[in-house]
C-alpha cells in the first residue's frame, strides 16, 4: 500500500462523509446521530466495498471526526470513540458481505438487488442496535424508549444505504456509467427530472397544507422513470427524490414532520423504484435473449436448408477427386481429361465456398444478399417446394404468375425458406377443412412500382380474426407439433428484404408476401 495514495483517497472520503453527515443531520433524536436519512452510511459501505478493508482505519477516524465536527461529540470522547468503532465495524461487515456475495458492482440481477437490500436492511438493524445500546448503556438518551430509537436509526441507515450505495456503485461501474451517460442525453430524461423536481416543489411549496400528506405524489414520476429507464433511471430518481425531500425539509422548518412516517415512505419509495427498475431491466434482457434465440432458430432453419446445398458440391467434389485418383493410379489413357476434371473440382469448391459464405453472413448479422431472380424461377421453386411438401397427400397445388413480371430482387435461399413455411402451413391447413377438394393456390403479381406480391391461398378454414397478427408472434402455433417459429422467421425474412408478410381475413386461408423487384419494365 502506498501511503500517499491512501492519504489522497482518505482526503476525498473524509470531507465527503462529513458533509453528508452534516447535510442529513436534521430532525435528530436528541443530540445524537439518529436521523431520518443517513447517506454517509452508504458512502462508508461503498468506500470499503470498492477499496477493501484497509480503508477501515480511515473510515473510523472520519466517523469520529464527523461526530466531533457536526455534533460536538455530545456523549463525550469515550462514547464518541466507542460508537464510532461500532459504526465503522458494522459498515465494514456490510461491505465484506457485499464483496463476498455480489459479482462486481454492476447490480445486474434481481438476486444481487435482493442481496443488497438484505445486507443494507439487516446490517443497519445490527449497527443500530449496537449504537443505541451503547448510548443507553452510558445512561444517555434516557427519555426515549430504546425500541423507538433503534427503529429510527435502523430505517435511517437502511434508507441511506439503499439510496446512496447503488448510486455510488453505479458511478464506479464503467457499464453503468455509460448507461447513465446515455440516459442523460435522452430528452425524455430531462422531462422526467423536471417532473420530479416539480413534484417536490408542489409538495413543499405549491400545495396548501402539510407536505406530509402529499408525499405519495412522488410515486408517479418515480414509477414513470423506473418503467422507462430501468435500473439506471431508478437509481438516479431515488437519489433525486431523497435530495428533494431533504432540501424541502430544510426549506420549510416550520413543519414538524412525523419522522417515522417519512422514513417509512422514503423506504417504500426507494424499494419500489429499485425493484421496478430491476424488473424492467430483467424483462428487457429476457426480450433481447428471446430475439437472439429467434435469430439463432432462423439461422438453424437456414442451416438445415443450406446443408443440402453444401452437400451437393462436396459430393461432386469427392467423386471428381476419386476419379482423378483412379486415372493417376492406373496411368489411365484418359489422363488427358485430368485438367478438365480438376477445373470442375475448382468450380465445385467455389460453389461450396459460396454456400458457406452465405451461412456465415447469416449467422453473423442476419444479412440478406439480394440478387435478381426471374419471377419464372421463383414460380418454379414454389412448384418444386410445394411438390416436396405435398408428397403423397391429396392436395392440388396451382402456381400462376402474371405475364411479363420483372425480376425479383431477393436473397433466394431466405425467400425459399419463407415460401417453404407458407406452403407447409397452407398444405397443413387443408387438413382441417370439412370435405371438398383440397387445394393450395400461389399467385405472383405486380404490386405497385417496385413490389411483387406472392399470395398463398388454401382451401382450409382460414384464420380467426383475432389470430391474424398473433400467428406471427414466436411460439404461437396452431399445430400441436409446431414450434411456432415458422411465421415469425418468415416475417423477419420479408422485412429484411424491405417487404412484408401479412395474413388476410377470409373464409379460406390467405397469406401475402411482398417482395422487392427490379423496376426495369
Amino acid at each position: 500500500m502506498q501511503p500517499f495514495r491512501y492519504l489522497r483517497d482518505a482526503a476525498v472520503f473524509a470531507p465527503a462523509y462529513v458533509i453528508l453527515d452534516w447535510a442529513s443531520y436534521f430532525d435528530a433524536l436528541g443530540p445524537f446521530n439518529i436521523t431520518p436519512w443517513n447517506p454517509q452510511a452508504g458512502l462508508a459501505v461503498a468506500w470499503m466495498l470498492l477499496g477493501g478493508m484497509r480503508q477501515w482505519p480511515a473510515v473510523l477516524a472520519t466517523i469520529v471526526a464527523a461526530d466531533v465536527l457536526v455534533r460536538g461529540a455530545p456523549g463525550g470522547a469515550f462514547i464518541a470513540a466507542l460508537t464510532s468503532v461500532a459504526l465503522a465495524g458494522g459498515y465494514a461487515w456490510m461491505a465484506w458481505l457485499l464483496r463476498a456475495f455480489l459479482r462486481g458492482t454492476a447490480l445486474r440481477s434481481l438476486r444481487e438487488l435482493n442481496i443488497l437490500v438484505a445486507v443494507g436492511v439487516g446490517g443497519a438493524a445490527l449497527v443500530g442496535a449496537c449504537y443505541v445500546g451503547m448510548l443507553r448503556g452510558a445512561g444517555l438518551l434516557a427519555d426515549t424508549p430504546a425500541p423507538e430509537g433503534w427503529l429510527r436509526f435502523w430505517v435511517g441507515d437502511a434508507v441511506g444505504v439503499l439510496v446512496t450505495l447503488p448510486l455510488l456503485l453505479a458511478a464506479a461501474d464503467p457499464g453503468r456509467r455509460a448507461g447513465l451517460a446515455a440516459l442523460a442525453r435522452r430528452g425524455e430524461a430531462l422531462a422526467q427530472a423536471a417532473l420530479l423536481a416539480a413534484t417536490v416543489w408542489l409538495i413543499f411549496e405549491g400545495l396548501p397544507g402539510d407536505p406530509a400528506v402529499h408525499f405519495y405524489a412522488l410515486f408517479v414520476p418515480l414509477i414513470w422513470i423506473a418503467a422507462r429507464a430501468g435500473m439506471n433511471g431508478a437509481i438516479v430518481a431515488v437519489a433525486i427524490v431523497q435530495l428533494g425531500m431533504v432540501a424541502g425539509i430544510h426549506a420549510r422548518p416550520e413543519f414538524t414532520l412525523p419522522a417515522l412516517e417519512i422514513q417509512a415512505l422514503v423506504a417504500a419509495l426507494t424499494l419500489t423504484g429499485l425493484y421496478l427498475g430491476m424488473m424492467v431491466d430483467e424483462r428487457a434482457r429476457a426480450n433481447d435473449s428471446l430475439r437472439e434465440t429467434l435469430r439463432l432458430a432462423a439461422a438453424g432453419d437456414m442451416a438445415g436448408a443450406i446443408a443440402h446445398e453444401l452437400h451437393q458440391p462436396l459430393t461432386a467434389l469427392a467423386s471428381y477427386g476419386e476419379s482423378a485418383l483412379l486415372i493417376i493410379a492406373r496411368n489411365d489413357a484418359r489422363s488427358a481429361e485430368l485438367p478438365a476434371i480438376i477445373g470442375k473440382m475448382l468450380g465445385e469448391s467455389q460453389r461450396a465456398a459460396e454456400v458457406v459464405r452465405r451461412l456465415r453472413e447469416l449467422f453473423r448479422s442476419g444479412t440478406t444478399r439480394l440478387e435478381p431472380v426471374e419471377a419464372g424461377e421463383v414460380a418454379a421453386s414454389v412448384q418444386r417446394i410445394a411438390a416436396q411438401i405435398v408428397g403423397t397427400r391429396p392436395v392440388e397445388v396451382a402456381v400462376s404468375a402474371e405475364p411479363a413480371l420483372p425480376a425479383l430482387y431477393i436473397d433466394r435461399l431466405q425467400v425459399e425458406l419463407a415460401i417453404r413455411n407458407l406452403l407447409a402451413n397452407a398444405v397443413d391447413a387443408t387438413e382441417q377443412q370439412r370435405g371438398g377438394e383440397r387445394h393450395v393456390g400461389v399467385q405472383l403479381a405486380r404490386q405497385g412500382e417496385d413490389r411483387i406480391s406472392l399470395v398463398v391461398r388454401d382451401s382450409g378454414p382460414g384464420l380467426p380474426r383475432d389470430m391474424l397478427e398473433r400467428v406471427f408472434e414466436p411460439f404461437v402455433s396452431g399445430k400441436p407439433t409446431g414450434m411456432g417459429l415458422g411465421l415469425a422467421i418468415s416475417r423477419a425474412i420479408a422485412e429484411a428484404h424491405g417487404g412484408a408478410l401479412a395474413a388476410r381475413a377470409a373464409s379460406h386461408g390467405e397469406f401475402e408476401l411482398l417482395l422487392p423487384c427490379l423496376q426495369s419494365t
Partner: protein
C-alpha cells in the same frame, strides 16, 4: 459375373453430382445412365433393364423411395441405393423398409459406394441367373418336372420308374431331354440345378 451387362442408373437433381458420379463409375468400369428426376427415369424405364439404381432421397416431385415403390409396382426388382444429404433416422428406416440395398450419406465414401454397387450387382446377377433358370424350367413338361424332382432326391432311374409306373428306359429318355433343355452336361449338374432353381420365397 457379367458386370458388362449391368448398368448403374443415377437419379439426382444436381447436374454436377450426376456428372461426377458418371465419370467415377465409368472409370470403375461401370456403364451408367443419368436422370435428373424420378419422372424422367420412369418414362425411360424398360423391363429388361438390369443393374442398380442410385437415387437421391430428396428429388423434385417424387423422392427416391417413392421412385423405388413406383418401380416395384411396375414389377421391376432393380436394387436401389439411396443417397441423401439428410441422413436422418426416419428416412434411413423408410429406405430399408423399402428394401434399399444401402443408404449412403452425401458426401459419401467411395469405397462404401463401390461396395454397395458390388453388393447390388451380385444380387442382380443372382437374380438374373435365377430368371434364366426359371425360364428354362418353364420349358419342361409336367412329366419331365416329376422326373427332375425325384432325380434331385437322389433316386436312380429304376426307382424313379417304379415310383412313376413307367419303364426305366423312358426315365432315361426324359433325363436326356431335361439335360438338353436345361443346358447341363451330367447328373451332378442336374441335381445342383434342381436344388438351386424353383420357386423361392419373395419372388
Amino acid at each position: 459375373m457379367p458386370a458388362e451387362h449391368l448398368t448403374v442408373y443415377v437419379v439426382d437433381d444436381d447436374a454436377p453430382v450426376r456428372d461426377a458420379l458418371a465419370l467415377m463409375l465409368s472409370l470403375s468400369g461401370h456403364a451408367s445412365a443419368l436422370f435428373a428426376d424420378a419422372e424422367t427415369f420412369l418414362d425411360a424405364w424398360r423391363p429388361e433393364w438390369a443393374g442398380c439404381v442410385i437415387a437421391d432421397l430428396r428429388l423434385p416431385a417424387r423422392s427416391g423411395i417413392e421412385l423405388q415403390a413406383a418401380l416395384r409396382a411396375r414389377g421391376s426388382r432393380l436394387p436401389f441405393i439411396i443417397i441423401t444429404a439428410h441422413g436422418d433416422v426416419a428416412s434411413a428406416r423408410a429406405a430399408f423398409q423399402a428394401e434399399a440395398v444401402d443408404f449412403l450419406e452425401k458426401p459419401f465414401d467411395h469405397a462404401q459406394l463401390r461396395a454397395a454397387i458390388d453388393n447390388a450387382f451380385s444380387r442382380e446377377s443372382l437374380r438374373l441367373t435365377r430368371v434364366r433358370e426359371n425360364a428354362r424350367l418353364a420349358a419342361l413338361t409336367a412329366r419331365e418336372r416329376e422326373v427332375l424332382e425325384l432325380a434331385a432326391q437322389g433316386l436312380h432311374a429304376k426307382e424313379i420308374a417304379a415310383r412313376l409306373g413307367i419303364s426305366p428306359r423312358t426315365v432315361e429318355v426324359h433325363k436326356t431331354r431335361i439335360m438338353d433343355k436345361l443346358g447341363v452336361r451330367n447328373v451332378a449338374e442336374l441335381v445342383r440345378f434342381a436344388l438351386g432353381a424353383g420357386p423361392r420365397p419373395g419372388e
